[in-house]
């Protein structure tokens, strides 16, 4: 079979397609975006055999995928780790309903926070909800595991989490494809109670889920993706989860001198961990992200043998793993290196030259300077870069949609002017409900929806509310005379400033919409023409 050079994200996507995927649902988020983008350009997606359109947010994506699973088809939902927070209600309860057609929940974690606001570990969510996890260590495994995950999902009637980290998601390697499977036929669930989570039904479901969870663990103990490799030096045994296995092997050129337990499928197989604990003098745990396995082994009371990892300091408490910090944890001498250059300076990212957000921030900064105590609550997107030089324009950035609701809360507390800056895609993702709250209380806030007609930061995906932003604002009850549109260009700065002044002075909810296409997507559109 022909080898292809695929990103971890793409390998997973190809695996899903070859395993009979009927639909992918997702909201863009680094490092998960390329999964859905890969599927969108395949003939089966273009001709409509496989659903691949973007969803408004991770919760709507999760629920749509669950609906497709209900109908007996194989569905996948993809998100970055913080998207799991948005989808959490639907996700945790999907473990209670269970799956009908195979259901994979892809959570792409971002240890070291390359493009994120925290480094939460999605394995906690899966454990919390009692679902199995697959954590590939290579692009080939990402491909192979997808069909295994669908199969497991259907056999146990449970959603399965596929956990990636940035490094695997965005790294390419050669992948060999396997057999291609047909999509499932429509087939409805046999147990009518299963999908109605009323308390009486849920109590039954919960018992069954806990029972099944034990069986899923036995399954993981014999999984081909997990392995126990014995070796002579038993002074330490190493548990290497997911991609950590590669960093371990990098330091021993494929042959570790001590026992290694490779974990790529969870629930954590207790029998294999017990074997290591009984045969080795100590255990070193290598896991990318947070110390999930380490905390499981450590518990609260002291353990019979020493356990080393992120909590005990052998591995850095924060940040992603790499060959170097794993080398140090293994007690090996560092490779000889050259000194770092003292000439270099940091080069932080910045808003593109010609970007409309620049004109918005220039205008906003000048208006804000006219007040003593204006506060600007911003949001998740390219415009978060407004915190950096040269604008230093924003006071907060927390989570999708928080700009509007935080501005409201601050206004409730007496802050004036209380200004929100949010992008069009983030507004339809999680800003609309907050705007309704503000309208209902006639909160004194000014909301800037900086509309670049795309989801910019993740590379220019379709934005759910394009051409309907004003209509949405009217529908939520913002007074039409206080929904104002302007074109963010350097020549219009005075116009934008005047509009902002007027709307700040209006005592109530006003929305200013600076609208101009993202210059990156505009370049692409022009190149096509």
């Amino acid at each position: 079979m022909q080898k292809e050079l695929l990103l971890g994200d793409e390998a997973l996507a190809q695996g899903a397609l070859d395993a009979g995927l009927s639909g992918v649902y997702a909201y863009p988020g680094t490092p998960s975006t390329e999964i859905t983008e890969f599927i969108q350009i395949q003939p089966s997606a273009i001709n409509g055999d496989v659903h691949s359109k973007w969803s408004s947010n991770e919760k709507t994506a999760m629920e749509s995928a669950l609906g497709m699973s209900f109908a007996g088809k194989r569905a996948m939902v993809c998100m970055k780790h913080v998207g799991m927070n948005v989808a959490a209600d639907a996700f945790v309860n999907s473990a209670m309903t269970g799956a009908n057609g195979g259901l994979i929940v892809v959570a792409a974690d971002d240890p070291s926070m390359h493009s994120s606001q925290n480094e939460q570990d999605s394995r906690f969510y899966a454990k919390f909800a009692f679902t199995p996890i697959f954590e590939p260590s290579s692009q080939q495994e990402a491909y192979d595991m997808t069909s295994a995950a669908f199969e497991l999902s259907e056999r146990f009637a449970v959603p399965v989490v596929m956990r990636l980290t940035t490094r695997l998601a965005h790294s390419r390697a050669e992948v060999v494809r396997g057999e291609v499977r047909e999509q499932n036929e429509l087939k409805f669930p046999e147990d009518p109670k299963q999908w109605v989570l009323m308390p009486s039904n849920s109590r039954e479901r919960y018992k069954r889920l806990l029972n099944d969870y034990a069986a899923m663990e036995s399954e993981a103990a014999s999984s081909k993706f997990n392995s126990y490799t014995d070796a002579a030096d038993r002074s330490v045994g190493v548990i290497a989860c997911g991609i950590a296995y590669n960093y371990l092997m990098e330091n021993f050129e494929g042959n570790a001198p001590f026992p290694v337990l490779k974990i790529s499928q969870y629930p954590l197989p207790t029998t294999l961990v017990e074997r290591m604990a009984s045969e080795c003098d100590s255990i070193l745990i290598l896991e990318d992200g947070q110390p999930v396995v380490e905390e499981m082994l450590r518990g609260v009371l002291s353990t019979p043998i020493p356990i080393k990892g992120r909590l005990s300091g052998e591995v850095p408490r924060t940040g992603e793993l790499n060959p170097n910090n794993v080398r140090q944890a293994l007690g090996l001498q560092p490779h000889p290196t050259r000194d770092a250059s003292e000439v270099i300076v940091p080069r932080p990212p910045a808003l593109c030259q010609g970007c409309g957000h620049r004109d918005v921030y220039k205008s906003l900064n000048e208006v804000v300077a006219e007040y003593d105590a204006a506060k600007v609550f911003s949001d998740i997107g390219c415009y978060t870069l407004g915190w950096l030089a040269p604008f230093h324009a924003i006071d907060t950035c927390v989570d999708m949609g928080a700009s509007i609701t935080m501005a409201k809360g601050a206004a409730d507390a007496g802050v004036f002017p209380s200004i929100a800056v949010i992008g069009d895609s983030t507004f339809t993702h999680s800003g609309m409900t907050g705007l309704l709250d503000a309208v209902n209380e006639k909160s004194n806030i000014t909301v800037i929806i900086s509309d670049n007609l795309t989801t910019g930061m993740t590379g220019g995906q379709d934005s759910a509310g394009t051409d309907r932003i004003e209509a949405i604002c009217y529908g939520l009850g913002v007074e039409p005379e206080h929904v104002r549109v302007v074109v963010p260009l350097p020549k219009n700065v005075e116009e934008i400033k005047q509009m902002l002044r007027e709307e700040i002075e209006y005592n109530g909810v006003s929305v200013v919409i600076p609208r101009r296409e993202c210059i990156q997507t505009a370049k692409r559109h022009n190149a096509k023409k």
Partner: protein
Amino acid sequence: MKRDIILAGVGGQGILSIATVIGRAALNEGLHIKQAEVHGMSQRGGDVQSNLRISSSNIASDLIPLGCADLIISLEPMEALRYLPYLSVKGWIVTNSTPFVNIDNYPNQDALNAELGRVDNSVVLDIDTFAREVASPRAANMVLLGAATPFLDIEPQSIEQGIIEIFNRKGDAVVQSNLAAFRAGYNHTKERVNE
């Protein structure tokens, strides 16, 4: 064979076009490849790098360990220096000489040149000038790839085949332009190293 390469530059300069060609050539040669890329926030004009590993045997890590890179290929001189701790003691730097200045505190040009001069095993060239002379400015990245190819342990014919396959859908003129740029870079390094 085994080559660990760090590709460096500024978001938007297109370091991945170089990685794509090397990757295609390596795949054609039946070699193993791992190529870690940067997507997301840093792409907006920040520093970006890609770890490209090629080997005739299995590759474990997607990331190159400190002190183990055989080659740094950089589209920007300061960005070449950023990854010095990754370069092995015997490794080479091949970099464009033209700074990309999008920050206020960009280092003084003389200090930068002096620092590059202190690195043993470096090839510093103005890829845009080469590209303008032999092809088109758009082919500058292929000048850099050509200049790095003598250190790749892959035959230049294989890299040329990679260029042909990658640029084929853009038409023959684009292919020929990129090949010319590639050869100019390649010849520059061959002459420089044979001096």
